[in-house]
């Protein structure tokens, strides 16, 4: 899930100040906490109130999109509506904002969220936490299922640093466990400290150079080859 945080209402209002009629688009995709139709309506009401304090009568409509980051879905859902509105506000993550601008170039789409991280939900502790940072070079197989890239503030590859105190990390005031202590505990439990001791060389950052890109059908090239074999 992409974890997002609502921007300050002043900032959002600042984007739409020049307009009188806006479309507010929620997203039913993976955004969390939910950023769907209800949230879009709530934001519309807030902005309407805000506009009224400035003597403006803001008109708005709230809709929701199955997944704003899918160009086809975004375009087919929103395109029939855009002509009636001067600008679009989206509750989606950054992917949605960029995609809406791309598939609906005739209007400007503004964000309402700060996209934080790809996160997992922990229901017991009632929080979202980044367990993977999609770095493109996965080493979790060597670290007992704990990611030292998402989990370590210094992204270390070879064990804890001097900022670990009683198993906790110096960053955020010793409230977050040191990922490398967690990795050590886990590997020790399974008698796999050989993996802990293994030296890991410098990371190849080409795997996470922006903009990330993967051609969908390259993943399925073997299918093509099979076809050719049948032909032959």
């Amino acid at each position: 899930m992409i974890i997002t945080q609502l921007k300050d209402i002043e900032e959002i209002y600042g984007y739409i100040e020049p307009y009188n009629k806006i479309l507010i688009a929620g997203c039913d995709g993976c955004c969390q906490p939910p950023r769907s139709l209800n949230e879009a309506k709530l934001l519309g009401q807030l902005l309407e109130l805000k506009a009224r304090t400035k003597g403006k009568d803001l008109k708005w409509k709230a809709i929701t999109v199955l997944r704003q980051c899918d160009d086809r879905i975004a375009a087919t859902t929103v395109r029939p509506l855009v002509e009636d509105y001067e600008a679009i506000l989206t509750l989606a993550c950054g992917l949605g904002v960029v995609m809406m601008n791309k598939v609906l170039p005739q209007k400007l789409t503004f964000p309402t969220q700060n996209s934080m991280f790809g996160g997992a939900q922990s229901n017991g502790e009632n929080n979202f936490i980044e367990l993977c940072e999609t770095c493109g070079d996965c080493i979790i197989g060597e670290t007992g299922g704990v990611c030292p890239r998402a989990g370590c503030a210094k992204h270390l590859s070879n064990g804890p640093c001097g900022g670990m105190v009683d198993g906790m990390c110096e960053v955020r005031g010793y409230t977050v466990p040191c990922a490398w202590v967690e990795i050590w505990k886990r590997l020790k439990e399974f008698n796999r400290l050989d993996l802990f001791k293994k030296y890991r060389g410098p990371r190849d950052y080409r795997t996470s150079t922006s903009p990330g890109y993967l051609e969908v059908y390259k993943e399925y090239t073997n299918v093509e080859e099979e076809k050719e074999e049948v032909k032959g």
């Binding site: 503030a153 210094k154 070879n158 804890p160 009683d166 802990f196 410098p202």
Partner: protein, 317 residues
Amino acid sequence: MGKRPAYSNLCKAIEAGHFVFTGELEPKKILSLEEILHSAEEMKKTRKIVAANVTDGPQGDAYMCSLVPSYLVQEKVGLEAVWQVTVRDRNRVALFGDVIAGAVLGLKNILTLTGDHTSLGDHKKGRVVYDIDSTQFCEMLSIMIDEGTDYEGNEIEGGKIKMNYGCVANPNSNPREPEILKVGRKVEQGVDFIQTQTAFDIDEAKDFLKDLEQFNVPVLLGVFPLKSYGIAWYFDNYIPGVSVPKDLLKALKKAEKDNKGNKPAKYAALDKINIEFFEPFIKEIKKSTKAAGVHTMAVEYERLFEPLLRDFPEYVK
């Protein structure tokens, strides 16, 4: 000493079997090196301190870089520098560039560190780098020293750099096992010496040194003489994993209170407390452990060296 020749006076002294002492200099947010050079002079005069660490933005603060002060301490004072380099602020390209610059300037020791996170320092909004970690930095230095190439195998014109380097270890680490395993991995990369974070508990220090014996690499145990109650309090509260014994804190506080307004008397009282605590501490380390020496982090507290080390022989030419 491992397979590598001793290029630095520090490593040569260790190789010659001396129980060595090193000091610490901290370039700060300042446009002058006067204080640092003065401290270095005082250290040199003792003839018991073979080299001084020059810190690289400790606690994540934005301070003067460590390269130039390291060079000037060697050049102007003639005291060898242990040039601290963290991997916090520079990627592998910049680290390589700095290291060969240091080599050209005649620096002989590097101490590799991860570096405190910027969120602890005075530029909390800054982005950290950590392109390579301290273990990988050790590997990079070994390649530069032993093979004369950069990290990717491209030759350095002029050949191998003539330097020794060390890594750090934390005796206050809890749990200790992952720390020891990490140090072991750095030893595998080829470190020449290990320097520890400060220790106040003699039994814990001895126990930690015992754990490091397996690596067969010279270890300098860190001690931190406390120049004032304020520094002790700061250290106790803000340095990760370090706690100053409560009795020591109390004694320092009392000494400052009792001698308020009388600087010489206050200094004498503070020095006395430090000497009473650290002199037997260091003697015990020398007597009953295999430590190669002691790293005294007495920043701007050079007046303590003479009385603190009075019973130790001169060995620096």
